[in-house]
């Protein structure tokens, strides 16, 4: 790493600068008024950051001596993260109205967006670590944001301890990597090194650290507790956004990796992928809590996405990007539905509480059913083509056996996803749910929009796919 960057091009940090301004402003607003203007400022800064992303599109801006590179791949991931944040804002607006600390809440969320923005747009390990830390520190607080709820504190502490442990491992791996190569740039992976074992150990440790962040098995233990304990608007954000950022980092990793260590690292990725699919799906079968079920389903989904990392020369990067784009909609949609249903509920929502939902709230049941079907990967929803594309590149790269395991895992997943549909449509009404507010609500409109997006991604995936393919000319070598 060059200690003194020659070209400080602040231009390339435009989205992050906007977010930083917004985050700082939010801290002051809380002190001044009575919390009015918090949500608009937060929303506007994210929208402005999105606009900045659009502005930087196709320009390939870079700065700080090449430490920050806003290529289209990075911008695509950043746009996806910002979209996730916008969706979670709508949920938070519904969920947190009574809290006095909402300014802090939105401010921390914007800080985490800055961290993820940095993670997606750099090829330097130290800067990646910086991004991970900004992200993690914000999320530790957010997960424990409901201070009064005991389970929330438990989840937060678990997340904090395991998360800092993972960060430490990443840092250790980083130092080993530096020892082996004399640089913190990821490009050093490709270069021959004098100490391959050291490099490999460093890479493995960093992989473990990143595996924690995406909740891939066997580093997934924190996820169900953290999701359940966190406010649901945080849980939804936590289940999608960090995954996107970390997969952007992993794609950088995977592109550079070569030589003899490649096979070992790939074996580790295959192990993580298979373990996530198996553990995630089989454990999800036994869950009775809706959020816990979604947490384990998220672990399984991370396992599917990891297949894309094995096939980067075959278009794995665009497959991962497409999957994540669809994943935003279906997973955030599922969480939004759950959030809407569980508002004002004292306890965590159980699957059996949904009994008879189709009779009382047909549209709501339909939306949740669409998200479940999409998560299960059944056409004509976006989840089908997302899985299809991943399996295609996986087979193309020669990992037919991994894909076959993924297929069997998918069959298992039908049980728990369809169970939700069954409970909603095929059982008599229970007494689990409090009445929902009638009329058009903002969250309802958003869920409807997400349903439409889920179908669009399944009926006309070409647009999505093409932008995913176009975005990675720089990441895919020789493509």
């Amino acid at each position: 790493m060059n200690m003194i960057p020659q070209d400080v091009n602040l231009y390339c940090m435009l989205p992050e600068i906007i977010l930083l301004t917004g985050a700082t402003l939010l801290l002051f607003i809380r002190g001044v008024g009575r919390g009015q203007g918090i949500v608009p400022v937060a929303g506007l800064s994210v929208i402005a950051a999105l606009a900045a992303v659009c502005y930087l599109w196709d320009r390939g801006t870079s700065g700080f001596g090449g430490l920050i590179m806003k290529d289209n791949g990075a911008l695509l991931f950043q746009a996806m993260i910002l979209t996730t944040a916008l969706i979670s804002f709508v949920l938070a607006r519904d969920f947190l109205p009574d809290h006095k600390n909402t300014g802090e809440y939105y401010s921390l969320l914007l800080f985490s967006l800055i961290g993820m923005g940095i993670m997606t747009s750099t090829g330097d390990l130290l800067v990646i670590f910086l991004g991970i830390e900004i992200l993690s520190l914000s999320l530790y607080v957010l997960v424990g944001f409901m201070k009064v709820v005991r389970a929330g504190m438990e989840g937060a502490v678990k997340y904090f301890l395991l998360g800092s442990f993972a960060s430490a491992l990443f840092l250790l791996g980083l130092s080993l990597f530096y020892g082996a190569t004399g640089t913190t740039g990821l490009t050093a992976f490709a270069a021959p090194t004098a100490a391959p074992a050291l490099l490999l150990a460093g890479a493995a440790l960093m992989l473990v650290g990143l595996g924690f962040k995406i909740a891939a098995a066997p580093f997934h233990m924190w996820a169900p507790d953290a999701y359940e304990g966190a406010p649901i608007c945080v849980a939804s954000f936590l289940s999608v956004a960090p995954k996107i950022a970390v997969f952007a980092v992993l794609l950088h990793f995977g592109t550079g990796i070569s030589g003899s260590g490649r096979n070992l690292i790939f074996a580790a990725v295959i192990f993580m992928s298979v373990a996530s699919m198996v553990i995630g799906n089989f454990t999800a079968l036994r869950q009775s809590g809706l959020v816990r079920m979604l947490a384990y389903s998220g672990i399984a989904q991370a396992g599917y996405i990891l297949i894309g990392l094995l096939a980067i020369p075959e278009g794995g990067a665009s497959a991962v990007a497409f999957y994540l784009a669809v994943y935003i909609f279906m997973n955030m949609g599922a969480f939004a539905s759950v959030a809407h249903l569980s508002r004002r509920q004292e306890q965590a929502l159980q699957i059996d509480d949904l009994a008879g939902l189709a009779s009382r709230h047909p549209w709501h049941a339909f939306a949740l059913a669409v998200f479940m079907i999409s998560l299960a990967g059944i056409p004509p929803t976006g989840g089908f083509f997302a899985k299809f594309y991943l399996f295609k590149v996986g087979i193309e790269a020669g990992y037919l056996s991994v894909v076959l395991i993924a297929i069997i895992a998918t069959i298992v997943s039908f049980f728990y996803y369809l169970r939700v549909v069954m409970v909603m449509y095929m059982t008599a009404a229970g007494e689990g749910l409090l009445p929902l507010p009638a009329g058009v609500t903002m969250i309802g409109v958003m869920i409807a929009a997400i349903v439409i997006m889920t179908f669009l991604a399944g009926i006309m995936p070409d647009q999505f796919l093409r932008s995913a393919v176009m975005a990675f000319p720089l990441i895919i070598p020789g493509a």
Binding site: A358, P380, K392, L400, L404, F415, Y425, T427, D462, R466
Partner: protein, 519 residues
């Protein structure tokens, strides 16, 4: 010509029910919902008759073809077209869908809207499966159709419906994901053998898949289709699904859904993977014969009417598998014709069993009896359909069964002989059923009057009966139209030539079929 060539007839046929579903969604009253569903299915049925009239039987290759790019980055196109194989399945689907709506008329009180929407979405899915010429389009329809069927069984079924619906969907889905892997492998092979990465089934026909790949892909395909047919030992979902499903659901399930398995075998396995098909033929035929005998024997032991008809389906579908795998003209033609016949007669039987159940509130044959005197019209239709199902000459079932058995005998006389036991066993359990239900003493303990078929039910049964007689007396209407496709299917290289040239080609020398019924 009613329609000019530019009009995308197949697209209209496939998506008209979906438009009807939107109309149902917008409808307010009960009459409105049912009326919209009836109009949509009727209009679709009328439209499905158009390809039947304009079809040119002598022409090889696909007709009414439509193709537009869909997902170009993955080599997927929106490609529709039909040939002799799918020709009759479209009107069959259209007809049975109308029947399904009429059968459910005023009977559904719970979530009426969702019910009719499910049926219309289901119809779009089925029609799409039969009309698709792109493998992924086919797969999308194939899977999309499962969700409405899952809901139909699971919401409006009888007591054990949740178990049955989950079993149904898990079995079929588990099969079809393997199909997906097979399809992706085929697309790669298409690229490897000189083409593009494409899911176009017409271009796949020109491929010669390398033998080691053929066996693997064949097994992946076969599992998916065998579950659907269902071929023994993949059949265990069928009796559960049938018994629990509402009447209309059983009609569609037995009448059309089971045909999709055979359709898949004939569309994918035989023409694309001929060597593997030849290699696995003895095994599949054995499974088919086991299905024939096993299904019949189990049907024999049933007291529940619906279960009996369900197991008779296992037996009949086994016979179709034996026929189409035999690799000769008689068996192939018989198989394609019998797909239609089985759809008509079994669909009709399920309608009648449903009507019976509504009147007597039981399907247990030990609690029925003596109904012939009290419901003469129902009994008459029931007997006709039973006779059609067991293959009485003059009715439709005979044509198919005769050709199928002829094909089986030509392949191996002893296999044919074993398959022919279906004639005896089928007659035994079917006629015994008729005797127990309609004759003998009334065992219901409620000797009060029973309503005979209503006008609406008669409206469904009369066309069905007419069709049964029509096909039985004039079978060449069907057999002529499936002649070309059958010849292509039994001689795989020919279909490739046919599709490349898309012109009628000289008859191959192995025209061994006796033209018994073609006068």
């Amino acid at each position: 010509m009613l329609f000019n060539a530019d009009l995308p007839l197949l697209t209209i046929i496939v998506f008209l029910p979906l438009v009807g579903a939107l109309a149902v969604l917008a409808a307010r009253s009960r009459e409105g919902i049912q009326g919209a569903a009836l109009i949509a299915t009727l209009a679709t049925f009328v439209l499905t008759l158009l390809p039947l009239m304009q079809f040119r039987p002598e022409q090889a290759g696909f007709q009414f073809v439509e193709q537009v790019p869909w997902i170009t980055s993955l080599g997927i196109s929106y490609h529709l077209g039909i040939d002799g194989l799918s020709l009759f399945l479209l009107p069959l689907t259209g007809f049975l869908s109308v029947a399904a709506v009429l059968v459910s008329w005023n009977k559904i009180h719970l979530k009426r809207k969702v019910y009719f929407i499910s049926f219309l979405v289901l119809e779009t899915g089925i029609l799409g499966v039969f009309a698709s010429l792109d493998a992924i389009l086919f797969y999308v329809f194939w899977e999309a159709m499962l969700i409405p069927m899952f809901l139909i069984i699971g919401i409006w079924g009888s007591e054990n419906r949740r178990y049955a619906s989950l079993k149904f969907i898990i079995y079929t889905m588990a099969g079809s994901v393997f199909l997906l892997i097979g399809l992706i492998l085929m697309a790669f092979l298409n690229r490897q053998l000189g083409g593009a990465f494409s899911f176009d089934m017409v271009s796949w026909l020109a491929l010669h898949v390398p033998p080691p790949w053929q066996y693997g892909i064949f097994l992946l395909f076969f599992v998916a289709f065998a579950v659907k047919v269902p071929i023994f030992p993949f059949h265990t979902w069928l009796p559960d699904a049938h018994v629990e499903a509402p009447t209309a659901g059983s009609v569609i399930l037995a009448g059309v859904l089971l045909k999709m398995g055979i359709y898949g075998i004939l569309r994918f396995c035989l023409p694309l993977l001929p060597e593997a098909a030849r290699y696995f033929t003895p095994a599949i035929m054995t499974l088919g014969v086991i299905g024939v005998i096993y299904g019949a024997l189990v049907a024999f032991a049933q007291d529940d009417l619906k279960k009996l008809v369900a197991y008779s389906s296992v037996s009949h579908m086994g016979l179709i598998v034996v026929g189409v795998m035999a690799g000769n003209m008689a068996g192939m033609k018989g198989g394609i014709v019998q797909m239609v016949n089985h759809g008509l007669s079994t669909g009709a039987l399920f309608i009648l069993v449903g009507a019976l159940y509504e009147r007597q509130k039981t399907r247990d044959m030990n609690k029925l009896g003596g109904l012939a005197a009290r419901t003469p019209i129902l009994a008459t239709f029931f007997v006709i359909m039973t006779l059609s199902s067991l293959g009485l000459p003059g009715l439709n079932g005979f044509v198919g069964e005769f050709l199928l058995l002829l094909g089986a005998f030509r392949y191996q006389w002893w296999l044919g002989a074993m398959a022919a036991t279906t004639l005896i066993l089928g007659a035994v359990y079917m006629l015994w059923m008729v005797q127990r239900v309609f004759f003998e003493m009334d065992r219901s303990g409620r000797p009060d009057a029973v309503a005979d078929l209503s006008l609406r039910e008669k409206l469904v049964m009369i066309p069905l009966t007419l069709l049964v007689f029509f096909i039985g007396l004039y079978p060449s209407y069907l057999t002529d139209r499936v002649e070309t496709i059958s010849r292509q299917l039994i001689s795989p290289p020919a279909i490739k030539a046919a599709c490349l040239s898309a012109a009628a080609h000289p008859l191959p020398p192995n025209l061994d079929s006796v033209k018994v019924l073609d006068r």
